[in-house]
């Protein structure tokens, strides 16, 4: 059984599931990685005898545990020593010690980056940016001239640096994300870097919402939504309020014309699990009852399941179950009824099972699980057998 740790959902948080948009913006996607590897092997992998300098006389590596060797003393591989993998460099130690931002930029521009080396360059660049906003802005300027893996390394370095928390840098990232004249991948990467913020001001949230609701924005709309959700989680987990973020996410969930954006907006609270107030219930119930997309209706049912007003939510579920025709949405209502009321939900589950016989075994499963004495829904859920084919290829609810 796939034991998702978001109770009621069988997939692993905290990273939201890969979606088409996110998949495109993973810094090295499968196709990209394959292409880079092919390019690397073609360009660098030796055929026949390795073309490396022979070991210098007396340049043996010191015995293990002795002081670190200098560059000249590095082990030079004999043919039988060669390990068939990319990633080794002569002169990397010196480069690491002396490289400036410009040197790192030049290394990135040379291209042919395999993933681990790209990660190294990103990490080292982030270290060199440090907490200096002017350095972060210089790298952002470079990023505006880059694309593909180079862009991902440059903006990833800004994202990983301490300077990303400088208000001026954050503003530059947001402005880049808003820039409709900029390339989609640049806007998306800038918005992705912005998710590092500990807190967002209301004006920033409103600007992100505007990107999310821009019909032409595609990936930036999805990234703006995710950033709103991820900063909400960060802020909430450190004692802040989730409500200002959730208001914007709910508005996106209600009004976005992009199903993936709408779905993500409703999904993001899953990673912080705030107890939603009564004021959200009617809007979520409306989405659950009327949205044309099955996945969105399922997500609205999920969102209702951590609530300050369980009685009202149970009444909504009771009304929605018979009106719903889709098995997977009914299954969502069924299991989230348990999440709302625990063992107290069993009579309502019996009603649901009487309406739709496909849920009789589920009802019995929950009766048995609660009879065992288990009380925590997270544990109940891990013990529950899956009886409905509602999972997609990526492990997402379908």
């Amino acid at each position: 059984m796939n034991r998702g740790t978001v109770p009621g959902v069988r997939r692993p948080p905290p990273s939201p599931p890969a979606r088409p948009a996110e998949g495109r913006y993973r810094w090295v996607g499968t196709a990209g990685a394959a292409a880079l590897l092919v390019a690397f092997w073609a360009a660098f992998w030796p055929r026949g005898k390795p073309e490396v300098a022979p070991p210098a006389p007396g340049a043996e590596a010191p015995a293990p545990g002795e002081a670190a060797p200098g560059e000249a003393a590095r082990h030079r591989p004999s043919e039988e020593d060669v390990v068939p993998m990319p990633g080794c460099f002569r002169g990397l130690r010196e480069f690491d010690r002396h490289a400036t931002l410009a040197d790192l930029r030049a290394a990135i521009l040379r291209g042919g980056l395999d993933q681990p080396f790209a990660e190294y360059l990103r990490g080292r660049l982030a270290e060199l940016i440090g907490g200096a906003p002017e350095r972060a802005r210089a790298v952002l300027a470079w990023a505006k001239e880059a694309s593909g893996a180079e862009l991902e390394v440059l903006l990833g370095a800004i994202k990983d640096s301490a300077a990303v928390h400088d208000p001026g840098v954050a503003e530059s990232l947001l402005a880049t994300g808003e820039d409709k004249a900029a390339a989609t991948d640049l806007r998306a990467a800038a918005l992705d870097a912005l998710e590092t913020q500990h807190k967002l001001e209301p004006a920033t949230m409103a600007r992100l919402k505007a990107i999310a609701l821009d019909d032409g924005a595609d990936a930036p709309a999805w990234l703006a939504t995710r950033t709103l959700g991820r900063v909400m989680k960060e802020d909430f987990e450190h004692g802040g309020s989730f409500e200002p973020y959730w208001r914007e996410l709910l508005a996106i969930g209600q009004t976005s014309r992009e199903t993936q954006v709408q779905l993500l907006a409703l999904e993001m609270p899953s990673y912080a699990d705030p107890v939603l107030g009564r004021e959200s219930i009617d809007a979520l119930a409306q989405i659950m009852r009327t949205d044309p997309d099955r996945a969105v209706r399922e997500m609205a049912a999920h969102r209702l399941s951590v609530t300050k007003d369980p009685d009202k939510v149970l009444a909504i579920y009771r009304q929605a179950f018979p009106a719903e025709r889709d098995e997977c949405v009914r299954w969502a209502i069924f299991r989230f009824t348990v999440r709302v009321a625990g063992a107290g939900a069993l009579p309502l589950l019996a009603e649901f099972a009487a309406i739709d016989r496909r849920f009789k075994e589920d009802h019995q499963d929950f009766v048995t699980l609660y009879a065992s004495g288990t009380t925590d829904f997270a544990r109940i859920w891990t013990g529950k057998e899956e009886r409905h084919q509602c999972l997609g290829e990526e492990g997402e609810e379908r």
Binding site: A21, P64, A73, H75, T100, A102, D103, R105, V340
Partner: protein, 340 residues
Amino acid sequence: MPGRGRRRALRAPPTPPRRRSAALAAAALALLAGAAEPEGSAPAPEREPCSLPGMVDDLRAALHDGSPALQKYQKFLLKEAAMRVPPERLRAAFAAERDPGVLEALGAAIASRASNAGEPAAFAPVVERARRDADPALRAASLRGLRGFGSVEAMAASGRTSYADFARDPAPEVRQAAAENLLHESQKVYFGHERAVSEAAVEAAAALADPALAAKLLAGTSMEQAGPAAVEKLVEKLSADDAGLRAAAAKALGDVSAAQAGAAQRALLERYRAEPEREVRAAILEGLAHLGLGAAAPTLESLRGVDPALAPEIDAWLKALATGLQEWSLIVREKQRLQG
């Protein structure tokens, strides 16, 4: 729904029309780099074929004076090499190594290979070095090399040792490494769902002479799958000399499965009445709330007269349980929020 028009799926983003020629890029680079700092002087590194001795040298150098990014990179490469290097070479390099940082990385490479191959017995060189090396720093480093893998299973497969033995090691760094491994394995490898790890953690905690470390181990390990023998050991720790360890045992007892809940509840109730420390009594209240969730309210109410100073704590739990939330993690969080 307001404003709802026809849906469309997200499109693939257009290919950015911003690829520049190498000359343009170089010019831009020169201009922009100049704005930040002078052109650097570091010669570009040149690719070369990888070899195990070369990677070990590079890691040693990186650990000596490399940046954190370089250290991470070199460790990653060594782990990646594990499946491509003949195992006897990897074992020989591990056996010859005396630098703790490099030894840990080589141990992780062997463990990675053993884990990928599904061969618990292949962990043996690392486990044995962690047991037998005369240098405690190298024992601890070997043990850390097992972090993130199924080390409890590997030790069980060896039949020669367990984490309880490492918890008795005379060197504090070895004991620390043992506890950190178990915490990592419970939280990050099995997400609390592996009985053998829970029970290994309880046995190790029972063997540790350092009560603070034992308490940390119990506090961070899921007891969801712990069996009756482990619960019995936890009950014993309710009478430990150290209050912090008693409190950790009380909270751990709250985390046991429904099958063990009766024994845990009886022990907690008995201890509550005998316990002299308020901090431990508060932990017992938490354990009882965890065991019963909403059904724990009468039990908590019944304890109100034992120590009036804890009435506010009982009230706070009752208020949190009254939210009707059905998950322990949410109830704990709401209690903290309700208490401000």
